[in-house]
């Protein structure tokens, strides 16, 4: 279930970042559950759509409390963590248990992973 409170929309024309967040809690858009389900490739019955919509809304509104924080004098941070970046060395290591990964593939057609045909992308 996507729990996002921040949505970047990068406009290449104007090279700006538009955030669809605002400063009052209740003005966060209610979730479009059918669209969410379609995007996440999860099929829902109409009954489930009706049932889930308020629950999803509740979670969003709970996070929406963050909109009350006054950020006028705060610079946006790139990320929430404070760890310095860990980079590893470019040294190869073969994963030892390839067999069990392959064994877990539902439809393996040596040496390929077999998947049903996809009609269109995204």
């Amino acid at each position: 279930m996507p729990t996002r409170y921040y949505y970047y929309d990068y406009d290449y024309n104007n090279r700006t970042r538009n955030c669809s967040t605002t400063t009052t809690r209740s003005s966060l858009e209610p979730p479009d559950v059918p669209r969410l389900a379609q995007t996440a490739r999860i099929s829902l019955t109409p009954h489930e759509v009706e049932e889930f919509a308020p629950k999803i809304r509740q979670v969003i509104d709970w996070f929406g409390q963050l909109q009350d924080v006054d950020l006028d004098s705060v610079d946006p941070a790139l990320r929430a963590d404070s760890e310095t970046g860990y980079l590893r060395e470019d040294i190869p290591k073969t994963f030892k248990n390839r067999e069990s990964m392959i064994a877990a593939v539902p439809s393996y057609d040596e040496p390929y992973i077999k998947v049903p045909k996809v009609l269109n992308k995204e």
């Binding site: 970047y8 049903p116 992308k121």
Partner: protein, 555 residues
């Protein structure tokens, strides 16, 4: 030489990003379509400057049409390039990457996207990104991050690609390009919008079983590091676009960050083409073209697309040009519709929570800057200043190893023009015949310099020099060693030559008579005979001087 600098277009409504629905389809088309046209530019070993093949007649007609079109319409072309980095391991895991390995043998839970696996950034990827950013004269983001680009496709195990969305590692640069002499030459400067790091998807093939229409997936390539380079829409013709791509290839090979091979897929280009009537400020509808497997297909596809769009414009059917992705068909030499878009893709970008910020500092960037080799553009300018022709310059600067060899040769004092001639002539021919790189031939730069000096100093004749060259390339050794061994020192003592001339005269009295009788062409015959008895060692200039004196004296 007239310099021609292109300024970047400052404002434009040129949407570049998330409309590429079928960007990740590289896998399918690389495997199921064979390139019928192996380009000259990317011979694996020795490569002359990229030449764009086309028939002379077709070329003339085509040029006339394009000339007419270019008077009425302006083409706006931008290129997105993906460069596969030649790191030892993948971007986010320690799996090695070997092109051509057995499918699904270089995989692990991270690149297979198995639950619980976490990515770890390969330091070499950041290093290569900074290297390329600096070489493209970009501004580096000292703080950048990774983002998830989310969509579903069988070659994308995690259901998202780790990429960089709004804060790429490098932005706002440029690339200087020289157009080939045979197409009019000239300099161009093309803007670079951004460079960012991302991972590659796996490979997708169509299964051939005819029954269940399944797809086959090979995840060896999933997670391999890529750098995406987005250009400003500064190109105006197919030729400019192709040369931009060729220069990028040259650059990544110079830097050692990628082998930049279009056939293997380590350099991939998608182009965006639109046209507008000259003088109109509003941009036309942009069309994306994919499946370009060589520099010449980039050139031809763009020229075709410009002509296609111009025709529609001139027929008043400009509205039939829709924003879409088209495929270049090598066989029929035209672009065709892939399929109409079903709305813009929503990639739902958000910061990758599993990876920390990418932080650069001044010391790090400075050390990489100082480790950069002399870049192709700098080399070309330096060679030009040495007095070499543009043709020579483009050849010598094309491959960094050839340039190094040339620099080493003249570094030992060899004459610049002579060194260039030898390398571009006999040495290049030898490399081509034997399929060797310049680093693999047995001739060393030092010995080439010695050879040139020996010929210049008249120790040996030019002809003998050539023979020595072949020996050096095939078997190695030293110039002086071979001269001694085969007794090849040129004969420059006049009395010695006179003796030989006299001998030839006495052995060929009939021809002497004929010469005296007016058949002056026989001078060549006598010269040949003297050469023969001197085993090619007689200095040709001196020989002919003495010969003429003797021939004319007696009459």
């Amino acid at each position: 030489m007239a310099s021609f600098l292109f300024r970047t277009i400052q404002s434009h409504s040129f949407l570049l990003c998330p409309t590429t629905l079928l960007r990740r389809n590289n896998g399918a088309f690389y495997c199921s379509m064979k390139s019928t046209h192996t380009q000259t530019a990317t011979q694996e070993k020795q490569q002359p400057p990229p030449k764009i093949k086309s028939s002379p007649q077709g070329n003339q007609a085509k040029t006339r049409t394009l000339d007419r079109i270019s008077k009425e319409y302006e083409a706006i072309i931008g290129i997105e390039t993906h460069v596969q980095l030649s790191t030892l391991t993948k971007a986010f895991c320690t799996c090695p990457y070997n092109y051509g390995a057995q499918p699904n043998t270089s995989v692990c839970p991270i690149c297979m996207g198995l639950p619980g696996a976490l990515p770890v950034v390969n330091s070499k990827v950041v290093e290569f990104a900074v290297k390329l950013g600096l070489a493209l004269n970009c501004k580096l983001s000292f703080n950048s991050k990774f983002d998830r680009k989310q969509y579903f496709y069988p070659d994308l195990p995690k259901g998202y690609q780790i990429s960089q969305f709004d804060i790429p590692i490098a932005t706002g640069g440029y690339l200087d390009v020289d157009l080939p002499v045979e197409y009019g030459g000239g300099h161009r400067r093309f803007g670079i919008t951004r460079v960012h790091m991302e991972e590659d998807a796996g490979k997708l093939l169509h299964a051939d079983d005819g029954v269940s229409y399944a797809l086959q997936v090979d995840l060896n390539r999933a997670g391999v590091p890529l750098l995406e380079i987005v250009s400003e829409p500064d190109m105006r013709t197919g030729l400019e676009a192709a040369e931009y791509a060729a220069e990028l290839q040259r650059l990544v090979r110079y830097l050692g960050v990628s082998n930049g091979n279009m056939q293997e897929g380590s350099l991939r280009c998608d182009v965006n083409v639109s046209i507008r009537p000259v003088g109109q400020s509003k941009f036309g509808t942009k069309v994306e073209i994919k499946n370009l497997n060589s520099f010449s297909s980039i050139n031809r596809a763009i020229d075709f697309e410009i002509a296609r769009q111009a025709l529609l414009y001139s027929q008043g059917k400009a509205d039939q040009i829709v924003q879409e992705t088209r495929l270049w068909e090598e066989g029929s030499q035209k672009t065709v519709t892939m399929r109409k878009k079903e709305g813009l893709a929503d990639y739902r970008y958000f910061p990758e929570p599993d990876l920390p910020e990418v932080i650069l500092n001044k010391e790090y960037v400075d050390s990489i800057q100082s480790s950069l080799p002399e870049l192709p553009e700098m080399k070309r300018r330096r060679y030009e200043e040495m007095g070499l022709s543009m043709q020579d310059v483009l050849f010598l600067a094309n491959d960094i190893n050839v340039a190094r060899f040339f620099d080493a040769t003249i570094g030992k004092g060899a004459d610049v023009k002579l060194a260039a001639n030898w390398i571009m002539g006999d040495i290049a021919a030898h490399m081509k015949n034997e399929k060797l790189t310049i680093n693999e031939i047995k001739l060393s730069a030092a010995e080439l310099a010695e050879l040139i000096a020996s010929i210049k100093g008249a120790t040996i004749s030019g002809k003998i020099g050539k023979e020595i060259l072949f020996e050096l390339m095939a078997k190695g050794g030293t110039v002086n060693g071979i001269i001694k061994e085969k007794d090849l020192v040129q004969i420059v003592d006049p009395s010695e030559i006179e003796k030989m001339v006299d001998k030839v005269f006495s052995e060929n009295p009939k021809q002497l008579e004929q010469y005296r009788g007016g058949k002056t062409k026989l001078q060549g015959f006598f010269a040949g005979q003297v050469m023969k008895i001197s085993k090619g060692k007689a200095n040709p200039g001196l020989l002919n001087k003495i010969l003429l004196e003797k021939l004319n004296a007696k009459s």
